[in-house]
Symmetry: C2
DNA sequence: ATTTTGTTTGACTAATTTGTCAGACAAAGA
DNA sequence: TCTTTGTCTGACAAATTAGTCAAACAAAAT
Protein backbone atom coordinates (compact mmCIF):
# COMPACT_ATOMS: atom_id res chain seq x y z
CA UNK A 1 0.00 0.00 0.00
CA UNK A 2 2.81 2.37 0.87
CA UNK A 3 3.78 4.84 -1.82
CA UNK A 4 7.36 4.40 -2.89
CA UNK A 5 7.88 8.06 -3.79
CA UNK A 6 10.69 8.19 -6.32
CA UNK A 7 10.22 11.88 -6.88
CA UNK A 8 9.10 11.33 -10.45
CA UNK A 9 5.64 12.75 -9.94
CA UNK A 10 6.97 15.96 -8.47
CA UNK A 11 9.69 16.11 -11.10
CA UNK A 12 7.12 15.97 -13.87
CA UNK A 13 5.07 18.73 -12.32
CA UNK A 14 8.09 20.92 -11.72
CA UNK A 15 9.28 20.38 -15.26
CA UNK A 16 5.87 21.25 -16.61
CA UNK A 17 5.89 24.46 -14.60
CA UNK A 18 9.33 25.32 -15.88
CA UNK A 19 8.31 24.78 -19.49
CA UNK A 20 5.04 26.67 -19.18
CA UNK A 21 6.02 29.49 -16.87
CA UNK A 22 9.73 29.96 -17.42
CA UNK A 23 10.19 29.01 -21.05
CA UNK A 24 6.81 30.25 -22.18
CA UNK A 25 6.05 27.16 -24.23
CA UNK A 26 2.35 27.48 -23.73
CA UNK A 27 1.43 24.69 -26.13
CA UNK A 28 3.93 22.12 -24.97
CA UNK A 29 2.93 18.51 -25.55
CA UNK A 30 3.16 15.76 -22.96
CA UNK A 31 6.09 14.44 -24.95
CA UNK A 32 7.89 17.78 -24.60
CA UNK A 33 7.39 17.67 -20.86
CA UNK A 34 8.43 14.03 -20.57
CA UNK A 35 11.57 14.69 -22.61
CA UNK A 36 12.50 17.72 -20.54
CA UNK A 37 11.97 15.70 -17.37
CA UNK A 38 14.00 12.80 -18.72
CA UNK A 39 11.19 10.29 -18.35
CA UNK A 40 8.96 8.49 -20.80
CA UNK A 41 5.67 9.91 -21.81
CA UNK A 42 4.00 6.79 -20.50
CA UNK A 43 5.10 7.74 -17.03
CA UNK A 44 3.35 11.04 -17.34
CA UNK A 45 0.18 9.11 -18.08
CA UNK A 46 0.88 6.80 -15.18
CA UNK A 47 0.86 9.59 -12.62
CA UNK A 48 -1.60 11.92 -14.32
CA UNK A 49 -4.13 9.94 -16.30
CA UNK A 50 -4.39 12.48 -19.07
CA UNK A 51 -2.85 15.67 -20.31
CA UNK A 52 -5.79 17.64 -19.00
CA UNK A 53 -5.31 16.35 -15.48
CA UNK A 54 -1.66 17.36 -15.48
CA UNK A 55 -2.46 20.80 -16.84
CA UNK A 56 -5.22 21.39 -14.37
CA UNK A 57 -3.10 20.20 -11.46
CA UNK A 58 -0.25 22.51 -12.42
CA UNK A 59 -2.69 25.34 -12.91
CA UNK A 60 -4.48 24.81 -9.61
CA UNK A 61 -1.31 24.48 -7.58
CA UNK A 62 0.22 27.58 -9.08
CA UNK A 63 -2.94 29.55 -8.58
CA UNK A 64 -3.03 28.40 -5.01
CA UNK A 65 0.63 29.23 -4.37
CA UNK A 66 0.24 32.66 -5.82
CA UNK A 67 -2.85 33.25 -3.73
CA UNK A 68 -1.08 32.17 -0.57
CA UNK A 69 1.94 34.33 -1.21
CA UNK A 70 -0.26 37.34 -1.69
CA UNK A 71 -2.59 36.62 1.18
CA UNK A 72 0.41 36.43 3.42
CA UNK A 73 1.37 40.00 2.55
CA UNK A 74 -2.19 41.26 2.61
CA UNK A 75 -2.82 39.81 6.04
CA UNK A 76 0.47 41.02 7.48
CA UNK A 77 0.51 43.79 10.05
CA UNK A 78 2.58 46.14 7.92
CA UNK A 79 1.30 49.68 7.46
CA UNK A 80 -0.62 50.05 4.22
CA UNK A 81 2.05 51.64 2.07
CA UNK A 82 4.72 49.17 3.21
CA UNK A 83 2.27 46.42 2.48
CA UNK A 84 1.86 47.54 -1.10
CA UNK A 85 5.61 47.89 -1.53
CA UNK A 86 6.08 44.40 -0.17
CA UNK A 87 3.34 43.16 -2.46
CA UNK A 88 5.11 44.57 -5.49
CA UNK A 89 8.36 43.02 -4.34
CA UNK A 90 6.80 39.60 -3.94
CA UNK A 91 5.15 39.82 -7.31
CA UNK A 92 8.34 40.83 -9.08
CA UNK A 93 10.33 38.06 -7.42
CA UNK A 94 7.83 35.47 -8.54
CA UNK A 95 7.81 36.82 -12.07
CA UNK A 96 11.58 36.80 -12.21
CA UNK A 97 11.60 33.01 -12.07
CA UNK A 98 8.29 32.47 -13.85
CA UNK A 99 7.90 35.32 -16.34
CA UNK A 100 5.17 33.59 -18.36
CA UNK A 101 3.02 32.44 -15.46
CA UNK A 102 0.44 35.19 -15.89
CA UNK A 103 0.28 34.57 -19.61
CA UNK A 104 -0.35 30.90 -19.06
CA UNK A 105 -3.04 31.51 -16.49
CA UNK A 106 -4.85 34.00 -18.69
CA UNK A 107 -4.66 31.80 -21.77
CA UNK A 108 -5.78 28.79 -19.79
CA UNK A 109 -8.74 30.60 -18.30
CA UNK A 110 -9.70 32.01 -21.68
CA UNK A 111 -9.77 28.65 -23.40
CA UNK A 112 -10.83 26.27 -20.65
CA UNK A 113 -12.89 28.46 -18.40
CA UNK A 114 -12.19 28.57 -14.75
CA UNK A 115 -13.35 26.67 -11.70
CA UNK A 116 -12.12 28.27 -8.56
CA UNK A 117 -12.60 27.11 -5.02
CA UNK A 118 -12.96 30.40 -3.26
CA UNK A 119 -14.62 28.80 -0.25
CA UNK A 120 -11.30 29.07 1.52
CA UNK A 121 -10.02 32.55 2.25
CA UNK A 122 -13.52 34.02 2.25
CA UNK A 123 -12.91 37.45 3.68
CA UNK A 124 -9.25 38.14 2.98
CA UNK A 125 -10.15 40.12 -0.10
CA UNK A 126 -13.09 41.85 1.52
CA UNK A 127 -10.92 42.92 4.43
CA UNK A 128 -8.24 44.26 2.13
CA UNK A 129 -10.76 46.18 0.04
CA UNK A 130 -11.98 47.71 3.26
CA UNK A 131 -8.45 48.65 4.25
CA UNK A 132 -8.03 50.35 0.88
CA UNK A 133 -11.28 52.22 1.46
CA UNK A 134 -9.97 53.46 4.78
CA UNK A 135 -6.78 54.74 3.18
CA UNK A 136 -8.88 56.65 0.67
CA UNK A 137 -10.78 58.33 3.42
CA UNK A 138 -7.45 59.34 4.93
CA UNK A 139 -6.57 60.77 1.51
CA UNK A 140 -3.51 58.56 1.36
CA UNK A 141 -4.56 57.32 -2.03
CA UNK A 142 -6.80 58.66 -4.80
CA UNK A 143 -10.48 58.09 -4.23
CA UNK A 144 -11.98 55.41 -6.46
CA UNK A 145 -13.66 52.06 -6.19
CA UNK A 146 -11.26 49.94 -4.12
CA UNK A 147 -11.57 47.26 -6.78
CA UNK A 148 -10.14 49.69 -9.28
CA UNK A 149 -7.24 50.43 -6.98
CA UNK A 150 -6.43 46.74 -6.95
CA UNK A 151 -6.86 46.45 -10.70
CA UNK A 152 -4.49 49.37 -11.13
CA UNK A 153 -1.91 47.80 -8.89
CA UNK A 154 -1.98 44.53 -10.78
CA UNK A 155 -2.12 46.23 -14.14
CA UNK A 156 0.92 48.39 -13.48
CA UNK A 157 2.87 45.43 -12.15
CA UNK A 158 1.85 42.69 -14.54
CA UNK A 159 1.17 44.23 -17.92
CA UNK A 160 4.75 45.22 -18.76
CA UNK A 161 5.78 41.66 -17.95
CA UNK A 162 3.04 40.10 -20.01
CA UNK A 163 3.92 42.20 -23.01
CA UNK A 164 7.66 42.15 -22.58
CA UNK A 165 8.43 40.61 -26.00
CA UNK A 166 6.11 43.10 -27.68
CA UNK A 167 7.34 46.26 -26.02
CA UNK A 168 10.94 45.19 -26.28
CA UNK A 169 10.54 45.51 -30.02
CA UNK A 170 8.32 48.58 -29.99
CA UNK A 171 10.79 50.45 -27.82
CA UNK A 172 13.80 48.81 -29.46
CA UNK A 173 15.31 47.72 -26.16
CA UNK A 174 17.47 44.72 -25.40
CA UNK A 175 16.80 42.37 -22.52
CA UNK A 176 18.98 44.22 -20.08
CA UNK A 177 17.47 47.58 -20.86
CA UNK A 178 13.96 46.25 -20.50
CA UNK A 179 14.77 44.66 -17.17
CA UNK A 180 16.15 47.98 -16.02
CA UNK A 181 12.98 49.72 -17.13
CA UNK A 182 10.93 47.18 -15.19
CA UNK A 183 12.92 47.71 -12.02
CA UNK A 184 12.51 51.46 -12.21
CA UNK A 185 8.80 50.85 -12.23
CA UNK A 186 8.69 49.40 -8.72
CA UNK A 187 9.16 52.77 -7.11
CA UNK A 188 7.11 54.55 -9.76
CA UNK A 189 4.08 52.34 -9.21
CA UNK A 190 3.98 53.36 -5.57
CA UNK A 191 4.33 57.01 -6.57
CA UNK A 192 1.40 56.72 -8.91
CA UNK A 193 -0.89 54.91 -6.54
CA UNK A 194 -0.28 57.13 -3.54
CA UNK A 195 -0.96 60.81 -3.15
CA UNK B 1 -5.59 35.88 -65.06
CA UNK B 2 -8.19 38.06 -63.38
CA UNK B 3 -9.12 37.12 -59.84
CA UNK B 4 -12.75 36.16 -59.55
CA UNK B 5 -13.11 37.42 -55.98
CA UNK B 6 -15.98 35.50 -54.44
CA UNK B 7 -15.33 36.97 -51.04
CA UNK B 8 -14.35 33.60 -49.65
CA UNK B 9 -10.82 34.61 -48.84
CA UNK B 10 -11.94 37.65 -46.89
CA UNK B 11 -14.71 35.64 -45.26
CA UNK B 12 -12.22 33.12 -43.96
CA UNK B 13 -9.97 35.80 -42.55
CA UNK B 14 -12.86 37.65 -40.93
CA UNK B 15 -14.17 34.43 -39.44
CA UNK B 16 -10.74 33.60 -38.10
CA UNK B 17 -10.53 37.01 -36.49
CA UNK B 18 -13.95 36.56 -34.96
CA UNK B 19 -13.04 33.18 -33.50
CA UNK B 20 -9.66 34.30 -32.20
CA UNK B 21 -10.45 37.82 -31.04
CA UNK B 22 -14.16 37.78 -30.23
CA UNK B 23 -14.74 34.24 -29.03
CA UNK B 24 -11.33 33.80 -27.49
CA UNK B 25 -10.78 30.37 -29.00
CA UNK B 26 -7.06 30.79 -29.10
CA UNK B 27 -6.31 27.24 -30.19
CA UNK B 28 -8.91 26.95 -32.89
CA UNK B 29 -8.13 24.46 -35.65
CA UNK B 30 -8.45 25.17 -39.36
CA UNK B 31 -11.52 22.92 -39.27
CA UNK B 32 -13.11 25.12 -36.62
CA UNK B 33 -12.54 28.16 -38.75
CA UNK B 34 -13.78 26.50 -41.93
CA UNK B 35 -16.92 25.30 -40.17
CA UNK B 36 -17.64 28.71 -38.72
CA UNK B 37 -17.15 30.28 -42.14
CA UNK B 38 -19.36 27.67 -43.79
CA UNK B 39 -16.67 26.48 -46.18
CA UNK B 40 -14.61 23.34 -46.44
CA UNK B 41 -11.26 23.10 -44.82
CA UNK B 42 -9.72 22.43 -48.19
CA UNK B 43 -10.69 25.91 -49.25
CA UNK B 44 -8.78 27.37 -46.37
CA UNK B 45 -5.73 25.55 -47.68
CA UNK B 46 -6.47 26.80 -51.17
CA UNK B 47 -6.25 30.44 -50.20
CA UNK B 48 -3.73 30.15 -47.42
CA UNK B 49 -1.33 27.34 -48.10
CA UNK B 50 -1.00 26.34 -44.49
CA UNK B 51 -2.41 27.05 -41.08
CA UNK B 52 0.66 29.07 -40.23
CA UNK B 53 0.19 31.36 -43.19
CA UNK B 54 -3.40 32.08 -42.23
CA UNK B 55 -2.45 32.74 -38.62
CA UNK B 56 0.38 35.01 -39.56
CA UNK B 57 -1.73 36.91 -42.06
CA UNK B 58 -4.47 37.48 -39.52
CA UNK B 59 -1.90 38.47 -36.95
CA UNK B 60 -0.05 40.88 -39.23
CA UNK B 61 -3.19 42.57 -40.53
CA UNK B 62 -4.60 43.05 -37.04
CA UNK B 63 -1.32 44.37 -35.77
CA UNK B 64 -1.19 46.75 -38.67
CA UNK B 65 -4.79 47.91 -38.21
CA UNK B 66 -4.27 48.52 -34.55
CA UNK B 67 -1.08 50.43 -35.30
CA UNK B 68 -2.82 52.60 -37.85
CA UNK B 69 -5.74 53.39 -35.61
CA UNK B 70 -3.40 54.47 -32.89
CA UNK B 71 -1.02 56.39 -35.11
CA UNK B 72 -3.96 58.33 -36.39
CA UNK B 73 -4.74 59.56 -32.90
CA UNK B 74 -1.12 60.10 -31.99
CA UNK B 75 -0.46 62.16 -35.08
CA UNK B 76 -3.64 64.20 -34.75
CA UNK B 77 -3.44 67.87 -33.82
CA UNK B 78 -5.45 67.45 -30.63
CA UNK B 79 -4.02 68.92 -27.43
CA UNK B 80 -2.17 66.29 -25.42
CA UNK B 81 -4.81 65.47 -22.86
CA UNK B 82 -7.56 65.25 -25.46
CA UNK B 83 -5.30 63.02 -27.44
CA UNK B 84 -4.94 60.59 -24.57
CA UNK B 85 -8.67 60.62 -23.94
CA UNK B 86 -9.29 59.90 -27.59
CA UNK B 87 -6.68 57.17 -27.46
CA UNK B 88 -8.47 55.46 -24.60
CA UNK B 89 -11.77 55.77 -26.43
CA UNK B 90 -10.37 54.17 -29.57
CA UNK B 91 -8.81 51.38 -27.60
CA UNK B 92 -12.00 50.61 -25.71
CA UNK B 93 -14.06 50.59 -28.88
CA UNK B 94 -11.73 48.12 -30.49
CA UNK B 95 -11.73 45.88 -27.45
CA UNK B 96 -15.51 45.96 -27.28
CA UNK B 97 -15.72 44.00 -30.52
CA UNK B 98 -12.48 42.06 -30.11
CA UNK B 99 -12.01 41.50 -26.38
CA UNK B 100 -9.43 38.74 -26.81
CA UNK B 101 -7.28 40.44 -29.41
CA UNK B 102 -4.56 41.43 -26.96
CA UNK B 103 -4.53 37.96 -25.47
CA UNK B 104 -4.08 36.41 -28.87
CA UNK B 105 -1.29 38.77 -29.83
CA UNK B 106 0.58 38.16 -26.61
CA UNK B 107 0.20 34.40 -26.77
CA UNK B 108 1.21 34.39 -30.42
CA UNK B 109 4.30 36.47 -29.77
CA UNK B 110 5.24 34.35 -26.80
CA UNK B 111 5.11 31.09 -28.69
CA UNK B 112 6.11 32.07 -32.20
CA UNK B 113 8.33 35.05 -31.64
CA UNK B 114 7.73 38.19 -33.51
CA UNK B 115 8.90 39.65 -36.79
CA UNK B 116 7.81 43.18 -37.15
CA UNK B 117 8.37 45.48 -40.07
CA UNK B 118 8.94 48.71 -38.26
CA UNK B 119 10.60 50.30 -41.25
CA UNK B 120 7.34 52.11 -41.88
CA UNK B 121 6.23 54.65 -39.29
CA UNK B 122 9.79 55.22 -38.13
CA UNK B 123 9.41 58.35 -36.05
CA UNK B 124 5.77 58.34 -35.00
CA UNK B 125 6.66 56.78 -31.70
CA UNK B 126 9.74 58.89 -31.21
CA UNK B 127 7.74 62.04 -31.81
CA UNK B 128 5.08 60.98 -29.36
CA UNK B 129 7.62 60.13 -26.70
CA UNK B 130 9.03 63.59 -27.19
CA UNK B 131 5.58 65.11 -26.84
CA UNK B 132 5.15 63.24 -23.58
CA UNK B 133 8.51 64.55 -22.41
CA UNK B 134 7.38 68.09 -23.15
CA UNK B 135 4.21 67.60 -21.10
CA UNK B 136 6.34 66.42 -18.21
CA UNK B 137 8.41 69.54 -18.33
CA UNK B 138 5.18 71.54 -18.22
CA UNK B 139 4.26 69.48 -15.13
CA UNK B 140 1.08 68.32 -16.83
CA UNK B 141 1.96 64.74 -16.05
CA UNK B 142 4.17 63.03 -13.49
CA UNK B 143 7.85 63.00 -14.37
CA UNK B 144 9.14 59.62 -15.45
CA UNK B 145 10.64 57.91 -18.46
CA UNK B 146 8.19 58.64 -21.29
CA UNK B 147 8.28 54.94 -22.10
CA UNK B 148 6.90 54.23 -18.68
CA UNK B 149 4.11 56.72 -19.22
CA UNK B 150 3.12 54.78 -22.32
CA UNK B 151 3.42 51.46 -20.53
CA UNK B 152 1.19 52.79 -17.76
CA UNK B 153 -1.40 53.97 -20.24
CA UNK B 154 -1.56 50.61 -21.95
CA UNK B 155 -1.42 48.69 -18.71
CA UNK B 156 -4.32 50.58 -17.17
CA UNK B 157 -6.39 50.19 -20.33
CA UNK B 158 -5.59 46.66 -21.35
CA UNK B 159 -4.93 44.62 -18.24
CA UNK B 160 -8.46 44.63 -16.85
CA UNK B 161 -9.66 43.44 -20.25
CA UNK B 162 -7.05 40.72 -20.51
CA UNK B 163 -7.91 39.39 -17.09
CA UNK B 164 -11.64 39.91 -17.27
CA UNK B 165 -12.58 36.25 -16.70
CA UNK B 166 -10.19 36.06 -13.75
CA UNK B 167 -11.21 39.23 -11.97
CA UNK B 168 -14.87 38.63 -12.63
CA UNK B 169 -14.56 35.64 -10.34
CA UNK B 170 -12.19 37.21 -7.84
CA UNK B 171 -14.49 40.19 -7.38
CA UNK B 172 -17.64 38.08 -7.77
CA UNK B 173 -19.09 40.33 -10.45
CA UNK B 174 -21.38 39.45 -13.31
CA UNK B 175 -20.75 40.57 -16.87
CA UNK B 176 -22.75 43.73 -16.59
CA UNK B 177 -21.10 44.83 -13.37
CA UNK B 178 -17.65 44.22 -14.78
CA UNK B 179 -18.44 46.19 -17.90
CA UNK B 180 -19.63 49.03 -15.71
CA UNK B 181 -16.39 48.87 -13.73
CA UNK B 182 -14.43 49.03 -16.98
CA UNK B 183 -16.29 52.06 -18.19
CA UNK B 184 -15.70 53.92 -14.96
CA UNK B 185 -12.02 53.37 -15.58
CA UNK B 186 -11.89 55.54 -18.69
CA UNK B 187 -12.13 58.71 -16.72
CA UNK B 188 -10.08 57.36 -13.84
CA UNK B 189 -7.15 56.47 -16.08
CA UNK B 190 -6.89 60.07 -17.20
CA UNK B 191 -7.07 61.22 -13.60
CA UNK B 192 -4.23 58.94 -12.65
CA UNK B 193 -1.97 59.85 -15.53
CA UNK B 194 -2.37 63.60 -15.28
CA UNK B 195 -1.49 65.88 -12.40
C1' DA C 1 -21.10 26.32 -77.82
C1' DT C 2 -16.86 25.26 -76.27
C1' DT C 3 -12.74 26.23 -74.11
C1' DT C 4 -10.35 28.30 -70.53
C1' DT C 5 -9.48 29.46 -65.97
C1' DG C 6 -10.27 30.33 -61.35
C1' DT C 7 -13.01 28.27 -57.43
C1' DT C 8 -14.61 24.61 -54.59
C1' DT C 9 -15.06 20.01 -52.90
C1' DG C 10 -14.54 14.91 -51.40
C1' DA C 11 -11.52 11.41 -50.67
C1' DC C 12 -7.16 10.24 -49.43
C1' DT C 13 -2.47 10.53 -47.09
C1' DA C 14 0.60 12.13 -43.73
C1' DA C 15 1.93 13.92 -39.39
C1' DT C 16 1.27 14.78 -34.75
C1' DT C 17 -0.28 13.83 -30.38
C1' DT C 18 -2.70 11.26 -26.98
C1' DG C 19 -4.07 7.05 -24.51
C1' DT C 20 -3.64 1.92 -23.33
C1' DC C 21 -1.71 -2.42 -21.97
C1' DA C 22 1.16 -6.24 -21.14
C1' DG C 23 5.21 -6.97 -19.25
C1' DA C 24 9.97 -5.65 -17.39
C1' DC C 25 12.19 -3.94 -13.37
C1' DA C 26 13.28 -3.06 -8.59
C1' DA C 27 12.38 -2.34 -3.83
C1' DA C 28 9.93 -4.21 0.25
C1' DG C 29 7.80 -8.01 2.77
C1' DA C 30 7.08 -12.99 3.66
C1' DT D 1 14.58 -16.97 -1.87
C1' DC D 2 10.32 -16.06 -3.52
C1' DT D 3 6.40 -13.24 -3.74
C1' DT D 4 4.24 -9.06 -3.77
C1' DT D 5 3.58 -4.49 -5.12
C1' DG D 6 4.54 -0.16 -6.80
C1' DT D 7 7.26 2.02 -10.61
C1' DC D 8 8.51 2.34 -15.20
C1' DT D 9 8.85 1.17 -20.23
C1' DG D 10 8.17 -0.29 -25.26
C1' DA D 11 5.10 -1.29 -28.56
C1' DC D 12 0.71 -0.65 -30.11
C1' DA D 13 -3.95 1.59 -31.02
C1' DA D 14 -6.80 5.62 -31.31
C1' DA D 15 -7.77 10.23 -32.08
C1' DT D 16 -6.99 14.57 -33.86
C1' DT D 17 -5.32 17.73 -37.07
C1' DA D 18 -2.88 19.21 -41.27
C1' DG D 19 -1.90 18.90 -46.14
C1' DT D 20 -2.51 17.01 -51.09
C1' DC D 21 -4.73 15.90 -55.37
C1' DA D 22 -7.79 14.76 -58.95
C1' DA D 23 -11.95 16.04 -60.37
C1' DA D 24 -16.42 18.70 -60.27
C1' DC D 25 -18.22 23.16 -60.90
C1' DA D 26 -19.12 27.83 -62.58
C1' DA D 27 -18.00 32.20 -64.44
C1' DA D 28 -15.59 34.40 -68.13
C1' DA D 29 -13.34 34.40 -72.65
C1' DT D 30 -13.00 32.63 -77.35
Amino acid sequence: MAIRDTGAEQLIKDTAKRIFFAEGKLNATTQDIADAAGVTRTLVNYYFRSKDVLFRQVFDESMHDMGNRMDEVIQSTLPFKKKIERFIEVFYTQLATYPYQESFMIAEINSNGFSFQKKDRPNVLAAFLKEIQTEMEKDAVKKMKPMNFLLNLFALMAYPLLTRPLFKIIFELDDLQYTKLLNERKKMIVDILFN
